[in-house]
Symmetry: C2
Subunit: 426 residues, 2 copies
C-alpha cells in the first residue's frame, strides 16, 4: 500500500424522489445563478430540465441554460459555456445528464474564473486552483464523473481527447442519483455504462503496488455486484433494485475508493480513446468492451498473476497455474461482455472493418509517451499486438493474406482463418 490522500466532499443523495432536493442543495453551495447544462434529448424532452428550473426559481435561484452536449464532448461547447457564463455572471453549474454533460460543466466551472485558455488545464500548462461549484442530477450512470474530480474533453479540430484529473476541486458538491431516471436507458446504453464502470475498477485493480488486499477486495466486490445485477437490469429495465445497485457501483467505481494507496493503470482507457478519436461514433463503453479483454489476454501471456487472482475470486476459476487461470478469466470476461451485455468484442463488431492500427499506435505513443502502462510496461510493439488482438478471425486472416502479398505476390489470398483472434499474438 502506498501513501495516499483521499478526500471526497461530494454529498450523494440517492434514491427515489431525490431530485426534489435540487433547489435546497444548490442553495447550500452558495450559488444564486446557475447554468443548467444538459444534452440534446432526454433531459429536456421529458421535462426534467423544466422541473429542475422551476424548483430553483421557487427557492430564488436564477438560471441560464446550455443544452446540446453530445457524447465525446468537445471544447467548442466549453468555450461557448465560458462566454455565456461570464456574460450572465453565473456562480454555479448544474449538470443534468451523464458523463459528457458533467464533464462539460466541470470544464466550464474551471474555465470561467481562469484568465487563460481552459485547455491549458488539459495540456498541463496550468493547474486548476479555483472553480465554480458544480451540482449533478445523474441520468446516465457509467462515467463516474458525478463523484470524481476528473473530466475528459475532446479538442474538436484535432480530435485529441485529453483527461484532466484533480484531487477534489472539480468534484461535484452534490450528486442526485435517482435510479428511476435510468429506467428508460436502452439495453445498449445500460451495457456500455456497465463496461465503463467495470473498466474504472479494473484499471485501478491492475497495479504493481504490492499488498493492497483491502482495495483488491473492494474492487472485486463491486465487479461481482455488477456481474450479478447486470442481467437483471437488462431483463427488466424497470427493476429498481438492479438499477440502484448498478448506479451506486458506478459511482464507487470512480470516486477514488478503489484506487486508494495503489498505482493505477489507465492503458485501456488510453487505447480506447485513440479508437473513439479516430471513429467518433463508437461509444466509449463499447470500445472498452473490445480493448479490455484484448489487453487482459496479452497480460495472460506476459504477466498473468493478477489476472488469475481476479478470475479465481470473481469467476470462481480454479485452475492452479496462473497462465491457465488468466486465460480462463479472459474467456469469462468475454463471455460476460458478449453473451450477457451483448457488447462488441472486435473491431469488426464495432463497425471498423479495416482499422488503421499503425495510426492508433503512433498517436497513442505520441500522446502518452514511448512507454506506457503501470501493471506492465508497453511499447509500440506491445500495443500494436494488443490492437491486433481486437481483430476478429476474418480480419486477422485478411491481414495475414494482405501482408503475405507484399513481399511476394500471393498465389492464394484466401488464407485459412485462424480459429481465435489470439492466434495473432503467436
Amino acid at each position: 500500500m502506498d501513501n495516499f490522500s483521499y478526500y471526497t466532499p461530494t454529498l450523494y443523495e440517492f434514491g427515489r424522489g431525490t431530485e426534489e432536493k435540487v433547489g435546497m442543495l444548490t442553495f447550500l453551495t452558495g450559488a444564486s445563478k446557475v447554468m443548467l447544462v444538459y444534452g440534446s434529448k432526454y433531459a429536456k424532452n421529458n421535462g426534467l430540465v423544466d422541473r429542475i428550473a422551476n424548483s430553483l426559481l421557487t427557492i430564488g435561484i436564477d438560471y441560464v441554460e446550455l443544452g446540446g452536449v453530445r457524447p465525446n464532448p468537445t471544447d467548442e461547447l466549453v468555450y461557448e459555456g465560458i462566454r455565456l457564463g461570464r456574460a450572465k455572471k453565473i456562480d454555479g453549474l448544474l449538470a443534468i445528464g451523464g458523463g459528457s454533460v458533467i464533464d462539460t460543466a466541470k470544464a466550464i466551472a474551471a474555465g470561467i474564473p481562469y484568465k487563460g485558455d481552459f485547455w491549458d488545464f488539459f495540456t498541463g500548462k496550468s493547474q486548476v486552483s479555483e472553480a465554480l461549484p458544480v451540482g449533478v442530477v445523474l441520468t446516465i450512470p457509467g462515467s463516474g464523473s458525478e463523484g470524481s474530480g476528473n473530466c475528459v474533453i475532446t479538442k474538436a479540430d484535432t480530435a485529441v481527447k485529453l483527461s484532466l484529473r484533480t484531487d477534489s476541486i472539480l468534484r461535484p458538491r452534490f450528486a442526485i442519483l435517482n435510479p428511476e431516471m435510468t429506467f428508460t436507458l436502452s439495453a445498449y446504453q445500460t451495457a456500455v455504462g456497465i463496461v465503463d464502470m467495470m473498466t474504472h475498477i479494473l484499471e485501478r485493480y491492475f497495479t504493481t503496488t504490492p499488498r493492497v488486499e483491502v482495495t483488491d477486495r473492494l474492487a472485486e466486490g463491486l465487479l461481482m455486484a455488477l456481474i450479478a445485477e447486470a442481467p437483471r437490469a437488462l431483463t427488466d429495465p424497470t427493476d429498481y433494485q438492479a438499477r440502484a445497485n448498478i448506479e451506486w457501483a458506478g459511482t464507487l467505481a470512480h470516486n477514488g475508493l478503489v484506487g486508494c494507496g495503489r498505482r493505477e493503470d489507465w492503458v485501456s482507457h488510453f487505447m480506447e480513446h485513440e479508437i473513439s478519436a479516430m471513429y467518433p461514433d463508437i461509444a466509449h463503453g463499447a470500445g472498452l468492451a473490445v480493448v479490455v479483454p484484448a489487453w487482459m489476454a496479452y497480460m495472460a501471456h506476459h504477466k498473468p498473476s493478477k489476472v488469475a487472482q481476479l478470475g479465481r475470486r470473481i469467476f470462481g476459476i480454479d485452475a492452479r497455474d496462473d497462465r491457465t487461470a488468466a486465460i480462463e478469466t479472459v474467456a469469462s470476461l468475454r463471455a460476460f461482455f458478449g453473451a450477457v451485455l451483448r457488447m462488441p468484442l472486435s473491431f469488426k463488431a464495432l463497425g471498423v472493418d479495416d482499422p488503421d492500427i499503425d495510426a492508433m499506435v503512433e498517436r497513442l505513443h505520441a500522446n502518452k509517451g514511448e512507454v506506457i502502462g503501470g501493471y506492465y510496461k508497453l511499447k509500440a510493439d506491445d500495443t500494436r499486438q494488443i490492437y491486433e488482438l481486437m481483430l476478429d478471425p476474418a480480419q486477422v486472416a485478411a491481414r495475414q493474406a494482405g501482408r503475405k502479398s507484399e513481399p511476394e505476390p500471393a498465389p492464394d489470398r484466401e488464407a485459412e482463418p485462424e480459429p481465435e483472434a489470439e492466434a495473432a499474438m503467436a
Copy 2:
C-alpha cells in the same frame, strides 16, 4: 436498497510520515488555538504530543492540552474539556489517540458552542447544530471514529453508555493515519481493534433491506481482507503492509460506506455495552468477540439466511441448506476469533465467572426498548438466551445445577457439563 444521503467530508492522509502534515491540515480547518486531547500513556510518553505541539507552534497555531482520556471515556473529562476550552477560547480540537480520545474530543467540540448540558445530545433532548472542527492523529485503529460522525460516552455516575450519531457535523475534518504508529500495539490491542472493525461491518451487513448486493459485497470484501491480514500483523507487529490494510479497513468499516442504503442492526453493540457498563475493565472488542458469535448462533437457528450467505462468501462454506451453512459460519468465526485473534469466547474467558444476566437483560431493554434489533426482532426472552450462549460449558452446568436446586433441593449439584454452550438454547 433504501434511499440514503452519504457525505464524508473527512480528508484522509494515509501512510508513513503523514503526521508531518498536521500543522497545515489544522491551519486549513481555520483554527488558531486548538485543544490537544490524548490518553494517559502512549501519545505523551513517546513524544508524539510534543512533536505535534511543536509543528503547530511553527505554523503559528496555539494550543492547550487535555490528557488522561481512559477507555470507555466518561462525561467527567468532557465537562472538564468544555470548561477548559471555553476559558482558553479554543476554536478547534486535535485528538491524538484511538476511539476514546476521538470521542471525547467530539463531545467537547459539540459541547463548547452549546448553551445547555452536552449530555442532552446523547439523550436525544437536543441535536448538534454546531461544533468546533476536530482533527485526528490515529494511534489505535478499531473504533472507526476517525471517519465517523458518531461518538460514545459513558455517564460516570450511572454507568450508562450512550451513542450519539450525526450525519456529518461531528466527522473529523481530517484524519492522519500512519500505520507505523500501530507497530507498538500489543497482540491483544490489535485483536480487540480487529473485532471492533469486523463488528462495525457485521452490524451493517445484517439487514432486512433486500437487494443490497453492492454493499454486501463491499462488507464481505473488508471482512476477507481483515481475516487475511490479521495473522500477519499478529505474527510480525512491524509488518507495515498488514498494519496498513487493517487500519484502512477499520476506517472504511465505520465511515458509513457499508451502511449506505440499508437498515442497520446494532444489537451486538448494545448487548456488549451492557456487559462493559457492568464490568468496566472489559475491552469493547473483547466483549464483542463474545457477543457477536452468540448472536449469530441464535440467528443460525432463527433466521439463518444471511449468516449462511456470509459464510459461503467469506469462509467458502459449501453446505447447501442455510441452517447448516450458518452453523458452520459461526464455527468459522469463533475459530478465527479464538485461534487466530486469541480472543475470549465466553463470559468465563472475559473473567466474569457469574454474570448477572438478569440485570443485563433488564438494563438492555430499559435503555433500548422492549423489542430491539433490525435483522431479527429480539425481546427479553431472546436476549437472555443470547447472553446464555456466552456462558462456557462449565458455567452452563453450574447454572443448570443452581436452577434445579431452587424448586427442590438438589441431591447432586455436579450436573454433567454440556458439551457445547449452544446446548443452553435447546
